[in-house]
Symmetry: C2
DNA sequence: ATAATATACTACTAATATAGTAGGAATACT
DNA sequence: AGTATTCCTACTATATTAGTAGTATATTAT
């Protein structure tokens, strides 16, 4: 039940943008370097995030990417959904007709509970929350 | 973030055994037929469940599989773990040294919370709980 | 004993998804 | 014009999953 690198990299990339909101567009090159991700691969992830409406691009020199809306309006569950696909542990939860036993299937109920638990965590966090956590951490480390 | 059929089939198979505890060994053939799973594939899943210690086998004619311990002593989280592998959303949660940034990584914290949420659901259920749910459901359907 | 029935074991295969890589086109700034 | 950047499409390598195939071994029933 591992996350794909697509999701892990994508979340880290959009968090870079979220932590950089006021400083103009940020280039793929920069993000890729800071996060140790292949430039070409990240390029594709940014396309996903863009077409999902979380970020927008500025082409040409001095271009790059910026958040399309404030970081506190982007829930992690939405980003996750765009990158990893719907948090669906099993097909029959999206589409009941995919299994004739769905209606009275006990394991289906279990996977539904698992799914709700995951979604509940992800829905409770916005990008801004995570940026704030990072800042708290930095502030703390200065004291040491 | 889909579950593998390995896990889905495996859980359904062991639930068949759990619902059949007092009726002697149950054959792969029977389970495969009732659950619509390939006999040969299920054979492999039973091997996994057996070497994890949840079930034991009886060879030869009239043989089959039975639970190795009472259904209320088998937690779903353990079965899940044997089939799907550890509920680890990301490598660095199992092995901190796999990423040099692990110590102050915010996304790692997020995935840890997701993981805890999943585990908490699975640990709260035993096979017996699920068997009971099935029975409740059947009892209910008789009333209709 | 022998035949029938079941698991045990090992190896192979097909299909799919993931994680990239590669190359050039389009756009915008200087 | 030249440079820097995103945009688009296609390819490739690797791993995993899901399943198939065949034979060996153990146990029961006749």
């Amino acid at each position: 039940m591992k996350l794909s690198t697509r999701t892990r990299y994508g979340v880290r990339a959009i968090l870079e943008l979220a932590g950089n909101q006021d400083k103009g567009p940020m280039q793929i090159k920069t993000i890729a370097h800071r996060q140790d991700i292949s430039v070409k691969y990240l390029e594709q992830l940014m396309t996903i995030l863009k077409s999902a409406g979380f970020i927008r691009s500025v082409r040409g020199a001095k271009g790059g990417y910026i958040l399309a809306k404030p970081a506190n309006q982007i829930k992690l569950s939405d980003v996750f959904n765009a990158l990893e696909g719907p948090v669906t542990t099993v097909e029959c939860l999206e589409n009941e007709s995919s299994c004739k036993r769905a209606a009275d299937c006990v394991t289906r109920q279990v996977w539904a509970e698992v799914q709700r638990a995951i979604e509940s965590v992800l829905q409770s966090m916005t990008l801004q929350d995570l940026v704030d956590r990072t800042k708290d951490k930095k502030a703390l480390s200065y004291q040491i």
